[in-house]
C-alpha cells in the first residue's frame, strides 16, 4: 500500500469540519507556510494535544482555525503575551505563535522584544508579506522604502525593520529566515526552531499579491514567487557580496544560534532551589 506522504500528511492535520479551501487569496504564501509548519511538527512526532498555536490578527492569524491543534486566535499584536502565559502555566506544551509582519513588528513589537529578552520557550513564526494584508494593503513596518501602499500612495518614506537584526539584538536564542519558495529550507529551520529551547524567531517571506504585489509591479502571484527565487541567497554567500550587490538580495538561512536556557527553565529552577531551601530550613 502507498505510504502517506506530502499533502496527505497535511490533510491529517486539518479540521475537516471547517470549510475548505481556506479563505486566503489564490497564491497567498500563508497557506504554504501553514503546510510547512504542519510538516515540521509531523517530522518531530509531537502529538497534536501538545501543540498550541497562538495566532495574532491578520490574514496570517486566520491560519490557526484550520489546524487540529490547540488553537488560540488572540488580539492584534498580542499573541506572544498569551503564548508566554500558556508556556509558563504548562512548560510541557510546544507553543508556536503565528504572526503577521504588522502584528509582530508594529503593534506587537514590544512583546517581540521582550519575549526575546526573556528568552521564553516559544517559537515565533512571523509571516512577512511586507504589508497589512487583511485590512487592505496599508504600510507595515516591513514595507520596503519606496513601495506603493494604500497609506503611502507616493512611496513608502520610512525604512523597514530587519526582523533578524531586531530579534538578534533583543536576545533570541535562534533566528532564521526562509521563503515560501524555498520551502524545504523553511521547513528545516522551522523544525530546528521548534526543537530548540528558549525563544526562536523564524521569519517566513510570503507573498501577498492581492494587497502588495499588484501595486508593486508583480502582475501575477507567480511573479512574486519568481522574485523570491531570484532574490533569496544563503546568508554565507550573501555576506560575501558587495554592498551594491546586496541591494536586491535577500539573505536566508540561520542567523543566530545560542544556547541560553529559556525563561521557564530558569524560573522552575529557582522554584526548585527555593523549595530545597525551605525543606532544609524546616528540619
Amino acid at each position: 500500500m502507498n505510504e502517506i506522504t506530502g499533502n496527505e500528511i497535511i490533510h491529517q492535520y486539518l479540521r475537516h469540519n471547517k470549510k475548505f479551501p481556506h479563505v486566503l487569496c489564490p497564491g497567498c504564501g500563508h497557506g504554504i507556510v501553514l503546510g510547512t509548519l504542519i510538516r515540521s511538527i509531523h517530522s518531530l512526532n509531537i502529538p497534536k494535544d501538545d501543540v498550541v498555536i497562538v495566532a495574532g490578527i491578520g490574514c496570517s492569524g486566520r491560519l490557526a482555525v484550520y489546524v487540529d491543534f490547540n488553537t488560540v486566535h488572540t488580539t492584534h499584536g498580542r499573541a506572544l503575551s498569551f503564548a508566554t502565559g500558556i508556556k509558563m502555566a504548562n512548560p510541557k506544551l510546544n507553543v508556536i505563535t503565528i504572526m503577521g509582519d504588522g502584528d509582530a513588528l508594529s503593534i506587537g513589537g514590544n512583546h517581540l522584544i521582550h519575549a526575546a529578552r526573556r528568552n521564553i520557550g516559544v517559537t515565533a513564526l512571523i509571516l512577512n508579506n511586507n504589508i497589512y494584508g487583511m485590512t487592505g494593503g496599508q504600510s507595515s513596518p516591513a514595507t520596503p522604502m519606496g513601495a506603493t501602499t494604500m497609506t503611502n500612495p507616493f512611496g513608502q518614506l520610512d525604512k523597514s525593520f530587519d526582523t533578524v537584526e531586531l530579534a538578534r539584538g533583543a536576545g533570541a536564542n535562534y533566528v532564521a529566515r526562509g521563503t515560501t519558495f524555498h520551502v524545504k529550507k523553511l521547513e528545516k529551520v522551522l523544525t530546528d526552531a521548534i526543537e530548540r529551547p528558549g525563544f526562536s524567531v523564524v521569519e517566513a517571506i510570503t507573498p501577498c499579491h492581492t494587497q502588495y504585489g499588484r501595486k508593486n509591479k508583480y502582475k501575477t502571484p507567480v511573479d512574486m514567487y519568481k522574485w523570491m527565487k531570484k532574490a533569496a541567497i544563503p546568508v554565507d554567500r550573501y555576506n560575501e557580496l558587495s554592498e551594491a550587490e546586496k541591494e536586491d538580495r535577500l539573505a536566508i538561512g540561520v542567523f543566530v544560534e545560542r544556547d541560553q536556557p529559556g525563561f521557564e527553565e530558569r524560573y522552575f529552577d529557582l522554584k526548585a532551589k527555593l523549595q530545597a531551601q525551605e525543606e532544609k530550613g524546616g528540619k
Partner: protein, 381 residues
C-alpha cells in the same frame, strides 16, 4: 503545610489581604506591571508564588501583555490574577473584552487612584466605576465587585475567584487607594471554612466536546489546554464549535448566552450589606472607603434619633437593583457619596425613577469623604 483549624489573625494592608485571599482561592498565576497604588499586590506575589508548589509569577512588559499572559495561563488551566490602577486599567481593556468573549476566568484588581490620565497617583478615587462596567468595546456582561475594608479585601478576592470560575468570566475587583493602603487586623479563615469553586472541566470524551455549547447554566465546561480537548479559542464572534461565524442567529445565540449566564444568577452575584435599613427613611448607598465613612455617619445620625441606614454595595455590577428596590419601600431620601463626579448615582437614579429624593456627595480633590460631610446631608433630610 499543616492544616489550620483556627482562624489566624494578622495585621495587613488591603493589598496584602488581596494576596492572601487569592492564594486561599487557589490562584497560582500572577502576571502584572507595577503601578501605584496597586504595586504591593504584585510585589508580595513576586515573593510568595515562587515558594508555592505550582505558583508562577511573571512581570510583563506592560499591562496589555499582563492581560495576555493571564488569559493564556487561564486557558492552560490556572487560576489567575493581575492588579493595576487607572492608566493600566485603560490598557487592559481590549484583552478584558477578549476574556469576556472567550469566557476565560480571571480576576483583575483595579486599585483606583484619583483623577483622569496620570491624575493623582497617590490619592484615592472612585472614578473608574463606569469604565469597569463599559471600558471594553461592544455590549458585554461584566461582574464588578468592591471592598471597603481590609477584611473585605480578602473575602471579596475569594468571592471574585469563585465567581470567575463559576461563570467562566473575568471579574473586576475595584478597590481604592485608602482601602488598599489601610493596615488593620484581619482574620484569615481556615481551609474548609469558605467555599472554593473551580471551573467545571468536561467529562465527555473529547470527540463529543463542543467548547461553546449551550448548557442549563449557560456556562460550558472548560478543559485546560493540553488535556486532549483540542479546540479553537477566538475573540471573533463564534459558533458552538468556537469557529468564527457571522450568521445572525448564531451571533444572537452567543450574545444571549454570554449575558444570560450572568444575569440569571443575580441572587448569587449581587452582594450588598444592609446596615440598619429595615426602617430607614434616609438611606446612604456607598461602596469602598466611602462606605466606611457612611457607616459612621449613619451611627451618628441614629444617635440623633434619625432613621438612617446604609446600603453597602459589595457588587457594583450587575447593579443590585432588587436590593435598592427593597430599601425604597421606606426610603424618602437616598444619599450617594462618591469620590467621583457621580458614577454609581447614575445607577441609583435609574432604579429610583424619581420616587425618592436622590442626593449626591462628590469629591474629586483626592481627599476622602468624611463621616461629618455625610452626616450633614443626612441631617438636612
Amino acid at each position: 503545610m499543616a492544616r489550620r483549624k483556627k482562624r489566624k489573625e494578622i495585621f495587613a494592608l488591603g493589598n496584602e489581604a488581596v494576596v492572601e485571599g487569592a492564594l486561599l482561592a487557589g490562584c497560582s498565576f500572577y502576571g502584572g506591571y507595577p503601578i501605584t497604588p496597586s504595586s504591593e499586590i504584585m510585589e508580595i506575589m513576586a515573593s510568595k508564588l515562587p515558594q508555592t508548589d505550582d505558583g508562577v509569577f511573571i512581570q510583563m512588559e506592560d499591562e496589555i501583555a499582563s492581560m495576555g499572559a493571564i488569559i493564556g495561563a487561564s486557558l492552560a488551566g490556572r487560576k489567575v490574577l493581575t492588579a493595576t490602577s487607572g492608566p493600566g486599567f485603560s490598557l487592559k481593556q481590549e484583552n478584558l473584552g477578549y476574556a469576556v468573549m472567550a469566557e476565560t476566568p480571571l480576576v483583575l484588581v483595579n486599585v483606583m487612584r484619583g483623577g483622569l490620565s496620570t491624575g493623582l497617583p497617590t490619592c484615592p478615587g472612585q472614578g473608574d466605576v463606569q469604565q469597569a462596567r463599559w471600558g471594553t468595546h461592544g455590549d458585554h456582561p461584566i461582574i464588578v465587585l468592591s471592598a471597603s475594608n481590609v477584611q473585605e479585601c480578602l473575602d471579596m478576592t475569594i468571592t471574585a475567584f469563585n465567581m470567575a470560575e463559576k461563570y467562566r468570566t473575568p471579574v473586576i475587583l475595584l478597590l481604592d487607594e485608602i482601602t488598599a493602603h489601610t493596615r488593620e487586623k484581619i482574620e484569615i479563615p481556615y481551609e474548609g471554612e469558605f467555599e472554593v469553586f473551580s471551573r467545571t472541566i468536561p467529562s465527555m470524551p473529547p470527540e463529543w466536546y463542543k467548547p461553546y455549547e449551550e448548557t442549563v447554566r449557560g456556562v460550558p465546561p472548560m478543559p485546560p489546554i493540553g488535556s486532549g480537548y483540542r479546540f479553537h479559542v477566538t475573540g471573533l464572534t463564534h459558533d458552538r464549535n468556537g469557529f468564527p461565524t457571522q450568521r445572525p442567529e448564531e451571533v444572537v445565540e452567543l450574545m444571549d448566552r454570554l449575558h444570560r449566564k450572568i444575569d440569571q444568577f443575580f441572587y448569587d452575584i449581587q452582594l450588598v450589606e444592609e446596615i440598619q435599613t429595615e426602617d430607614a427613611d434616609t438611606v446612604v448607598i456607598a461602596y469602598g472607603c466611602v462606605a466606611r465613612s457612611a457607616e459612621l455617619a449613619v451611627q451618628q445620625a441614629r444617635a440623633n434619633g434619625i432613621k438612617a441606614g446604609l446600603l453597602k454595595l459589595k457588587t457594583l455590577f450587575p447593579y443590585p437593583r432588587r436590593q435598592q428596590e427593597k430599601i425604597m419601600a421606606n426610603a424618602k431620601t437616598i444619599i450617594v457619596p462618591e469620590l467621583n463626579m457621580g458614577q454609581m448615582s447614575r445607577e441609583v437614579k435609574r432604579v429610583n425613577q424619581g420616587r425618592a429624593s436622590v442626593r449626591t456627595i462628590n469629591r474629586i480633590d483626592g481627599q476622602i469623604i468624611t463621616p461629618s460631610e455625610i452626616l450633614k446631608v443626612i441631617m438636612q433630610g
